[in-house]
Structure formats: C-alpha cells, structure tokens
Symmetry: C3
Subunit: 117 residues, 3 copies
C-alpha cells in the first residue's frame, strides 16, 4: 500500500495520501491580512481546496478538521467563513481550541483529513 | 468507498465513518457542571459511548484520543474518570495538553478515533 | 479487521495498529534534559523510531505529525533536530502549536501517525 506525498520540503509535506485517506499539513494564510481572522480563514480554505483537488478529493469528503485560533476572540470571525464554506450535509468532525501559533501574524491554523474519492 | 455522517449540522458532524474508521468531533460536556472537570469528563465519555455505538464501534476499539484541558490543574480529576472508563488492555494512543476552549464553562474537550467493528 | 496494541497501561497505549496505519501516543522525552528543547526532541524522535520499528513501520512512512511546544521560543531548537531526522522526500504532514504540557519539565511533545509497511 503506497504513500504519495505532494509539496514536500525538508520539514513537512503539505499533502500525504495513504489508504484512500489524505492528510494535509496544518495550514496558515498566504500573505496573512493582519488582525483579520476571517480573511485568514478564507485564504486557508482556498489553500485546502487546492491541495484536496491535487489529492483527488474535495471539501465534500472531509473526515476531520482541527482548528487552532491564536485567540478565542476570533471564533465568530473564523466560523462565519467556515460555515459558509462547508457543503451542507458534508461537515467533518471538528475540534477548535486556542493555541499560540508559529508566528504572531497568524491568527488561524487549520488541518484536515479527507477521503480520496 | 463511502462516507457516513451522523448528527451533522452546518458546522460539523459529531460522527464521520470512512474505511472502517470512525472520527468523532471534539466533544464537551452536556450541561457542564461548573468547575467540575471530573463530572465534565464523565459527561463527555457518556457521549462518546453513545456516538460510538451509533457508529458500530465501542470503547474497546479506540485507536487515538486527544484531550484538551482548559487548565492542567484538571489533569488528575480528568484522569480519575478516564482511567476507570478505559477497558483494561484496550487503551488508545493518547495526548493531553492544555488549551483554552470555546467557552469558559468548558474545562475538558475530548476527541477520539476508533475502529468500526 | 483487527487492532494490535503495544505498551498498553491503564491510561494509554504507546502504539495502536489498525488497517495498515499505526497511531502513536503523544510522546515526551525520557529523562528530559531541563530547558533543552533540542535534547528533548532527540529523545522523543528516538522513542518514535523504536515504537515505529515495533509496529512494522519507520520514519520513511510517516503520514502526519503534531508537535506541541510549551513555549514557541523552542521552535528553532526543535526544528533543528526535526529537520535532520526527517528523511529527505518523506516528510509527513505537520502542525506545530504552543500548549502547556502535563509537567513543566516537558518542553516538547510529538504524536505521529504512520503507515505500516
């Protein structure tokens, strides 16, 4: 049973596929808008859409999501974007907790596991 | 390979089943007893028992558990309930760290992955 | 589809194997060197190597890693050891966030999911 990796560097792969399941890395926003958790969430979910497409999956096939917020004050802003993005009837298992992230400019980090179609 | 989802709303599913594996959401206590991490843990583990039963699994088939405590001071109270609940010889992989949760009334959140029988 | 557990006590198993996938527990350093996140990371990665070997896997088959740091100030020290340990071209999906761990002496905790070969 093979493993496929995409966007691999010394530290991590953004995408790892094994046994019909795709594991993404924890993703932060590209060019994060300072202090705008909604915009950062939008950027992250666009990146997830792109990586899932490369893996032969999509947001209708999410299994599990972990969301880290640098401050729980961002909960509503993140959710407003998240709730609009998740396809009705296809929401994953989810956990959302507060955690300081690698750099202060990042307010949101999301990691998902999805099924390969 | 199909995906089955149970207790799905706009934001998350409590239960997602794929490839003989069930992913639960991060769960907090129903009607959390204030400041009582042991009681909250009991409530969470009852919910886990119920969701696993619906998924065709049970606590003898846990693979992995993540436990978040709002304060590491709750470690012993949570463990006293956890250790009594886990069936001897069937404990999952586990990680337990401190994290601020979505609402201050929640002291414990637990997420598990289990095998479908 | 069977489950195999290794190093199981009342609270957790260090290793759980199911469906060609191995789930390790969150691991901290054995005899942690105080305040030395690089040394603690080395100890953890040695433990991971050992547990993966027992599970019929190795670090070339990592799928996903979660790294918790007690203080994001340990990020570079942890990464210096992590980057040297990960086999080129085989890095897992990874997320790294700050979280208070079970005991203050622990600066790093790592949990991995890997494929059984």
């Amino acid at each position: 049973m093979s493993i496929e990796r995409l966007h691999t560097n010394r530290r991590m792969s953004r995408v790892v596929i094994h046994n019909n399941t795709v594991y993404l890395a924890g993703l932060v926003a590209d060019e994060p808008v300072p202090e705008d958790a909604a915009a950062q969430t939008r950027s992250i979910l666009e990146r997830i859409d792109g990586f899932l497409a490369e893996a032969g999956s999509d947001k209708h096939h999410l299994l599990s999501a972990t969301i880290w917020l640098s401050d729980m004050a961002h909960y509503d802003a993140m959710n407003s974007v998240w709730d609009a993005w998740v396809p009705e009837g296809h929401a994953p298992g989810r956990a959302c907790v507060e955690a300081k992230l690698a750099l202060p400019k990042y307010k949101v980090e999301i990691r998902v596991i999805a099924a390969v179609i």
